[in-house]
């Protein structure tokens, strides 16, 4: 996922969802924590980075792959700790590799953390595998959960992009592009994960026993309560953010239109409405230069207004753009020059 494809509402909603789960996991771990877990989690997170440095050739294709991480962490650390580690791996990636960006980080933690740790692991891996399972069984379980986790993650990317309304890709086309690729990736990742788990089991079985089977099963805790609180938080944040989004006609309004059949929520004359209107007035004046035309006729399909601008306006827009960019550049160069002089 990438910042540039997100709207603030979608980004904020997934951020609050991910933050909620981080807080929940932290509380859960604090309850039955030996401090040994903290260094172990950190070092295993670094291990995921290290393992990604070693790539391998995928049989039959010649292209190369590497270890993804979510599933293997869940198997070794249990879902709560694994989720925190996965979130921190993604955080480091977002900061240092600028992978996606900081707003998209909430989505990425959700897509790559929640599905393997809280869907694939408790619903597929745990029921299939226990301490006496054969390596074949482990392989089947790891491949199945790897595939399911990645399919859900990929589909979530599609949904997030669609809700944000920055891309023109329709649901079907996008899904057809994403799902098969991630089916392949999921299969390969599942096999590699299974291989590493079996390797560990053969060499030091006590690691798997001490970590995963000692952790409480996530199924018997009140999943409903967790889900409900996440849902409430998500709704609250999107509600809070929607005043922000109501200045732009896509994203949220697209989904509102889907549910209510028209652009605005039916009853929305609250106290903030006048303030909003004034902001909207100002932005509408601005957006003429942002190549967004007057809204109105032919709006039945829920697409944002077609950009309509006349030549005179776009000319002054182009001139203005060039001048603003030049000014920014001059400021930067001037500061550089001044600094060099002073040192």
């Amino acid at each position: 996922m990438s910042d540039a494809l997100l709207s603030p509402v979608v980004g904020g909603a997934f951020w609050s969802g991910s933050l909620g789960i981080i807080a929940y996991c932290a509380r859960k771990l604090k309850k039955d924590l030996d401090e040994k877990m903290v260094p172990l989690m950190g070092v295993l997170g670094a291990f995921i980075f290290a393992a990604q440095m070693i790539n391998f050739t995928i049989p039959g294709t010649g292209s190369s792959g590497h270890l993804g991480g979510g599933m293997i962490l869940a198997v070794i650390l249990g879902p709560y700790a694994a989720f925190l580690v996965m979130a921190s791996v993604l955080t480091v990636q977002a900061f240092f590799f600028a992978d996606g960006g900081l707003l998209a980080l909430g989505c990425n933690i959700w897509n790559l953390g929640v599905y393997p740790c809280f869907v694939a692991y408790p619903l597929i891996y745990r029921p299939l595998v226990n301490a006496e399972s054969s390596s074949k069984r482990i392989t089947i379980a790891a491949v199945a959960s790897g595939v399911v986790g990645l399919q859900l993650g990929a589909f979530s990317v599609v949904i997030e992009t669609l809700l944000s309304g920055r891309s023109e890709l329709p649901l079907q086309t996008f899904a057809i592009m994403m799902q098969p690729i991630h089916l392949g990736i999921g299969l390969v990742e599942g096999f590699v994960t299974a291989g590493v788990i079996n390797f560990i089991k053969a060499a030091r079985p006590e690691i798997l026993e001490s970590t995963s089977s000692a952790r409480p099963l996530p199924v018997n805790i009140s999943t409903g309560k967790v889900l409900a609180s996440i849902l409430v938080m998500t709704l609250l944040t999107s509600g809070g953010l929607s005043w922000f989004a109501s200045t732009n006609p896509d994203g949220l309004e697209w989904s509102i239109e889907k549910t209510f059949g028209r652009r605005e929520l039916p009853a929305r004359e609250s106290r903030i409405a006048p303030a909003l209107k004034s902001i909207q007035g100002k932005t509408a004046f601005m957006s003429e230069y942002g190549f967004r035309g007057p809204e109105g006729a032919g709006e039945s399909k829920g697409k944002p207004a077609w950009p309509v601008t006349d030549a005179g306006r776009s000319a002054s827009g182009v001139v203005g753009s060039a001048l603003v960019l030049a000014a920014v550049l001059v400021v930067g160069i001037a500061i550089r020059a001044l600094r060099r002089k002073s040192t």
């Binding site: 260094p39 580690v85 291989g195 601005m286 001048l323």
Partner: protein, 267 residues
């Protein structure tokens, strides 16, 4: 080898320990400003282009005041733009309605929204990278902790960061040793990978145990403390206030349009 070998992680880390005005700001102020900046940028509607341009002032100021090499950061931005580029390029293919003609060339709505995505991409990614290039990672962890992220998360995030440098270097050695012993793609298959990674994992676990013992003997109680006390000073508040004001003005007022009309009016 490490500085340039692993996504320039080491080099970014070195940059973050410079001592300039931007580096001295409190991490909370910088993190807050960067997040607000990103949210403001992506809040622009799909067909917005001109409204985004004044926002280049923020990265430009950070580049020049923080003395960060522009080429280095932009190269990284270029490298990670693949996904958004790949998704965005469908916009001009699908949305072919002509929006307006510029100097006789018809421009479709799809190209405008594509350009908008690219501008947003550059702005958001650059500002994220600038944040890390001007703020040390422990500083960011500390800021996160102060902002209410659970202790356990920030502590193990710090651990993770410390040990990336150690473990990745080890993994690079392992990979190099394997590459020297394999011919073409022979020996680089999944089987070798699994036993290499497995061994690396076992060594990692043993290392984690040793680290834990060493920490216990130095009085570790489950919490990490920052060696450098951060305090949120007036300068930090000023920086944050200035950023918020500028973001608000650029978001609500049409700077480019005003400049354009003014200069066109001159002639």
């Amino acid at each position: 080898m490490f500085d340039y070998g692993y996504f320039n992680l080491g080099y970014l880390d070195t940059l973050s320990y410079k001592d300039t005005f931007v580096h001295r700001l409190d991490p909370r102020a910088k993190l807050g400003a960067t997040l607000l900046f990103i949210v403001t940028v992506v809040s622009f509607p799909k067909y917005e282009i001109t409204g985004l341009l004044p926002f280049f002032l923020f990265p430009t100021l950070l580049f020049s005041l923080g003395e960060i090499p522009v080429k280095f950061i932009m190269k990284k931005v270029f490298l990670v733009s693949a996904f958004a580029l790949f998704i965005g390029i469908f916009n001009p293919m699908i949305d072919r309605k002509i929006a307006f003609t510029l100097l006789g060339v018809p421009v479709s709505g799809g190209w405008i929204s594509f350009l908008s995505i690219m501008l947003k991409l550059i702005l958001t990614i650059t500002s994220a990278l600038l944040l890390i290039a001007t703020t040390s990672f422990p500083g960011i962890c500390h800021a996160l902790q102060k902002m209410g992220i659970p202790d356990i998360f920030t502590s193990q995030l710090l651990f993770l960061y410390r040990y990336i440098f150690v473990l990745v270097e080890e993994a690079m050695k392992v990979a190099r040793a394997r590459d020297m012993r394999s011919f073409g793609n022979k020996g680089k298959g999944m089987k070798a990978f699994i036993s290499l990674t497995g061994t690396l994992f076992l060594r990692t676990i043993e290392r984690a145990e040793r680290i834990y013992q060493a920490m216990l003997s130095r009085g570790f109680t489950g919490k990490l403390h920052a060696s450098r006390p951060y305090c949120f000073s007036g300068v930090d508040a000023g920086f944050l206030a200035a950023t918020i004001t500028a973001l608000y003005l650029f978001r609500v007022h049409d700077v480019v349009g005003a400049v354009g009309r003014f200069s066109v009016g001159l002639f």
